[in-house]
Amino acid sequence: MSKHVSAEIGLFEPAILKTAVKQAVLKLNPKGLARNPVIFSTALVSVLATILTIREGVTGGATFWIGLQITLWLWFTVLFANFAEAVAEGRGKARADTFRATRSKGHARVLLDPANRNLWEHEEVDLLEPGEVILVEAGELIPTDGEVIEGVASVNESAITGESAPVIREAGGDRSSVTGGTSLVSDWLVIRVTARSGETFLDRMIAMVEGAKRQKTPNEIALDILLAALTLVFLLVVVTLPFYASWSGTSIPVIYLIALFVTLIPTTIGGLLSAIGIAGMDRLVKANVIAKSGRAVEAAGDIDVLLLDKTGTITFGNRMADAFEPVEGVSERELAEAAWLTSLADETPEGKSIVELAVKKFGFATPENREKLTFVPFTAQTRMSGVDLPDGRRIRKGASDAIRELVGGVHNERLEAIVRRIASAGGTPLVVAQGGTVLGVVYLKDIVKPGIRERFAELRRMGIRTVMITGDNPLTAASIAAEAGVDDFLAEATPEKKLELIRKEQAEGKLVAMCGDGSNDAPALAQADVGVAMNTGTPAAKEAGNLIDLDSDPTKLIEIVLVGKQLLISRGALTTFSIANDVAKYFAILPALFIAAYPGLGVLNLMGLASPESAILSAIIFNALVIIALIPIALKGVRYQPASASSLLARNMLIYGLGGLVVPFVGIKAIDLIVNALRLA
C-alpha cells in the first residue's frame, strides 16, 4: 500500500552485521550501558567474574576452567545485547543513508527582496535560516523545507515518497509546503524557508531511523522499571543464598552465584528492548511515515477512534460518471456525445469513466477524425479541459463556476438546480459547455474504494471505531457510511465540528487518531492523540501533527496503528518469554548448587544434566544464545494479526508464555549434551 523509499533490508545484511559486531564492542562504554539497568548489571558482574577468574588462575583454584568459560559467556551476553541494538541501529543507518544521499549541498539563491525574483545572492545551504526567501528553478533540488509563497511548479518528490509522478506545488492553499530533498521538474518557486539545515523533515527522519535521537517511550520506561525491580529481587535472592547454603553446610563458589544471577535477571528482554524500539521506528519509516516522537507510535497502538476524511480515504478522490443530466433543449445523447468527445484523451479516472458511461449508454465509436481533434488538457489555472473540433466547435467540461465564467456568467436556472441537486447528494457536478452554451451536467459520483470495507471490519475486530468525516450533508454521508461500513460519520464537517468531536471522544477516555492536510485541520491534528499530517499539507498542519505521512495516504493510519501495536506486543511477548525462562534455569542450576548438601535434590534435575558444572555452563550459554536467537523477532516484530484482545492474549501466552517455559528445558539439555561431548565441563 505504501511506496517504499528503500529496498527491503535483509535481516542478515552482511555489511550491517559486520558494523554491528564492531559496534557491539564499542557499546561496552559504561555510559551507554548504564541506560539499560539489566545489561548494566550483567556487565558489572562480568567485571567481577573476570577479576575472580584471574585470581583463580593465579592461585590455581579448582573452578578456574569452568569459571573462565562462565566469564566468557557473561561477556558474550553483554556483547550479544549490544549486538542486537547495533543491528537495529545499523538497519536504520542503512535506510538513513539513502535519505542522506538526496540531501542537497552547495548553494541556494536567497532573494534579497521577496517581491523581486531577479535580485538574489548565493548562500550556503547549511547557513539558510528560517524566514529567508529562496528561489528554486526547474531542475534544481529544493534545499530545505519551506512554504511556497509565489509560483506554481511540478515537483518530483520521489526521493521522499517513492512516488515518481510529479505533484503540483503552489502558493497559498493546502499545497504550499515543499520538502527539502525534492526537485523541481518545471517552472519556478519562491519559497520561504521554514527549517534550518539539519532540522528538516529529512533530517528528523534520518535521526529517527538511526536511533540517535531516540528517547525512551513512556511504556518502555515503565517496562524498564519493572525489569529493574525484577533484577533487584534476583539480586536479593542470590546475595542471601550463600547464608542459607552455609546453614546447609555447603558453600557456593561466587562464580556460580554470578551465573545464577545473570541467568535469572531478564537479560533476554533487557538485551532486546532497545532493538525492539529502534526496529519499530524503522518499520514506520519503511511505511514512509515520520514520527516526531516515539510516544506517538505507542499511542497509535492504543487508538480507540479513527477519524478518516471521506474523500481520498474511503472513496476515490476521483469520482466516476454516473449520469448525464442535460439542461432544457439539449438531449441526453447530445450531452453525452459532447462529454465523450472532451474525454477521449482524458487519462484521469473521471475522464475514462465518462467515456465508459457514454459508450455504454449510446455506443459511440471512436471517431475517424480523431487525429484532427485538438485536446485541451486540464490546468490548475483554467480548471477545465476540453476539445477543439475541426469544425471549430469548442467543447469544455469543468467545475460549474469555471464554466460559468467561460460562458460569460449567464444564469441558467435549470443548470443551477441540477448542480445543487447533485452536490447535495454527495456527487460532483461536472458542467459541459459548447461554445458559449451550457449543454448539461455529468454526474460524478463517489465510489467507495474496494477493500475498504474489509479494512474497517478488521479495525473493528481490533476494537477501533471508525468515524467518517465529510462535508457532505447527513443523507449522503449516511449512504456512503453504510456502503463503506464505517461505524459512524460526521456530516457537514467544519474544523470546529471536528475539534468538538475529538474533544467529546477524549472526554470519554478514548484515544483519537486523525489525519489532515489543510491549515484548518491543524487544531484538530494538535488535539488528536495521534495526528497524521499529510506531507502535501500546509506547514501548519505538519507542525500540528505528531506523525507525517510522506505518501500523503490517509489510509496509512491503519498501518501506523499496526506498527504501534506490534511494538507493544513484541515487548510484552519477549518479557513474558524472558521471565518464563527462569523456571527452567532454576531447575538446571539449583540442583547443581545443592546436590552436594542434599543428594536427594537430584530429583530437581529434571533435564538430567550431566554434572553440576555442565548444568551451570549450559544455562549461561543458553541465556546468552537466546538473545541472538531472538534478534530476528525483535527486529521484525512479533506477528500481529488483527483479532480480539482475548484471542491475541491467549495466542501470545501460548507461544511466548508456554514456549518460554518449555524452550529452555530443551535448549539447556541440548547445550549440555554438546558441552559434554566437547568435554568443556
Binding site: 546453614w247 507493544l568 536427594g600
Partner: protein
Amino acid sequence: MQSDLLQAGLYALALFTAAVPLGWYMAKVFTGSITFLAPVERLLMGAAGEHREQGWKAYAASLLLFNAVGFALLFSILMLQHRMPLNPQGFDGLTWHLALNTAISFITNTNWQSYGGETTLSHLSQMMGLTTQNFLSAASGMAVAVAVARGFAARQARYLGNFWSDMTRGTLYILLPGAIMLALLFLALGMPQTLSASVEATTLEGAKQTLSLGPVASQVAIKQLGTNGGGFFNVNSAHPFENPNAITNFLSMLAILVIPVAFTFTYGRLIGDKRQGRALFAAMGILLVAAFTALYAAERFGNPLHAAFSDPAGGNMEGKEVRFGVVNSVLWAVATTAASNGSVNAMHDSLTPLGGMVAMVNMQLGEIIYGGAGVGLTGMLLFVILTVFLAGLMVGRTPEYLGKKIESREVKLAALTLLVTPIGVLVLGAIAIATGHAQTSVQDAGPHGLSELIYVYSSATGNNGSAFAGFTANTPFHNTMLGLAMLLGRFGYIIPILAIAGSLATKTPAAATAGTFPTHGPVFITLLVLTILIVGALTFLPVLALGPIAEHVSLLLGRTF
C-alpha cells in the same frame, strides 16, 4: 478420604454462602447506605473532627497517624501492665523488645505472638490492649481496600474518601456486630468468658491442676473475624478452651476467611463491575484449592519413615488434635495461612515438610489468597496491575485496568512491592543466620531448622502471625527484626497501593472495546494465577529447596537430621 473431601466441600460451600451476602452488606456500609448506628457514628466522627474527603497522601497519613497512636498506647499498656488493674495473676510488665514486637504485631494485624498469652499478659492487656487493636487493625486494612476501590473506580478525582469515616464504619457496622454475634455463639458452644484468672481442677489421677481462664470467647471471635489470629492461650485454637468442639472449629474456620472472601464481592460492587470482583474471587479460589490439595495430599500421605509404626491410613497426625483429625487441621492450616490470620489448631512445625512448605508459600506469596481483611484484596490488586501490564502489552495496547492506563508511576509502585517479601524473608533471615541469632533460636538442625527460620520471617512479613513453633522468637534480636518485618509487610504494601489508587483516581477511564482485553475472563484469571506463582517461585525456590524440599527428599532417602 471421601468424608474428608465432603467436609472440605461443605466448608467451601458455607464460606461462599456467607461471603456473598456479607460482600453486599459491606459495600452498602462503605457507600454509606447502612445507617442504623448513625448517632454513634456521628458522635465518634465528631470526636475525630475530620470529615473532609482525603487525597491518597492525607488518607495514608491519617492511617499512619492512627496506627502510630495505637502503637504508643499498646506499647505503654504492655510495659506498664503491672501497675494497672485487671491483673489477677500479677504478671510483670513486658520487656521493651517484647512490648515493641507485640505492639507492632497487633497494630499491623499480624498478631505474631512472641509471648505465651496466659502466662504473660494481664486481662487488661488482652482486653484493652490487644482486643482493641484486633478491631482497629482489621478496620484499618478494610479502610485501605475501600479507599483503593474508590480510587480505581473514580473518574478524574482527587479524593479517596475519609479514613476516619471508613474506619469507623468498618468497626461499627461490620466487626463489632460480627464479633458480638460470634462471641455469643462461642459462649453458647462452651467457650469461657470470665474475668477470673483460673480454676482448680482435679485430674483423674487425683492431681491438682490449674486451668487458666479469662475473657476467651470475646477475643477469639475478633481474632478470627479480623484475620488477627492472636490467641488467648499460647497454643491458640488447639487449646480446648479456645476451640472446644467441632462446631466452634467449623465456625472459626468460616470466620477466618469470610471477610477476606466477601471483600472480593464488595470490591466488585464498589467499582461498579461485579465481574471484576468475581474474577479476583476465582483467582484466589484457585490458589486456595491448590494449596488445600497440596497440603492435604502431603498430610494424608504422611511421613514414610513412620509407616512401620503408625497406621498409614491415618496420615500424619503428629502435632494435630485427635478431635480435629487430618482434614480439619489441614483446612485450618490452609485457611489461616491464606487469610493472614495466623491462628492455629495444629502445630505447623509438625506438618510434613511439603505440607509445611505449602503453608509457607501461602504467606510468601504476599498474603493474597484472600489474605488479610482488606489488605489481601489490595495485595492482589498489586499483582493484578503487574499482570495487566504484561498481558496488556501482549494485546498491543498500553495496558489498562478498569479502563485506566497503567503507566510508569503505577508500575514503579507495584514493582516496588515485589521487594517486600525478599527483604522481609530472605534478607532478614540471612542477617539472622549471619549474626548467629538464627542458629540459637531454632529447635532442629538441618533443613527443618531452616524451615523454622523461614517460616517465622514469612509469617511476620506476610502479617500472618502463625508460628511454626520450634523457634524461640522472644529475644531482643528476633523481636526487633520481626517487628521490622511486620512493619515492612504492612506498610510496604499499603502505602504503594494507596499511591497507585491516588494516581489511578485522577485518570479518565476509557470505555472497553474489542481491543481491550477483559480482566474478568478465564484467560486473565489463569494469567494472574500464573504470575503470582511464578513471581513467588522465582523468589523463594532456592531457599525452599534448601528447607522443606531438601528435608522431604532426604526423608525419602531415609535421612533425618
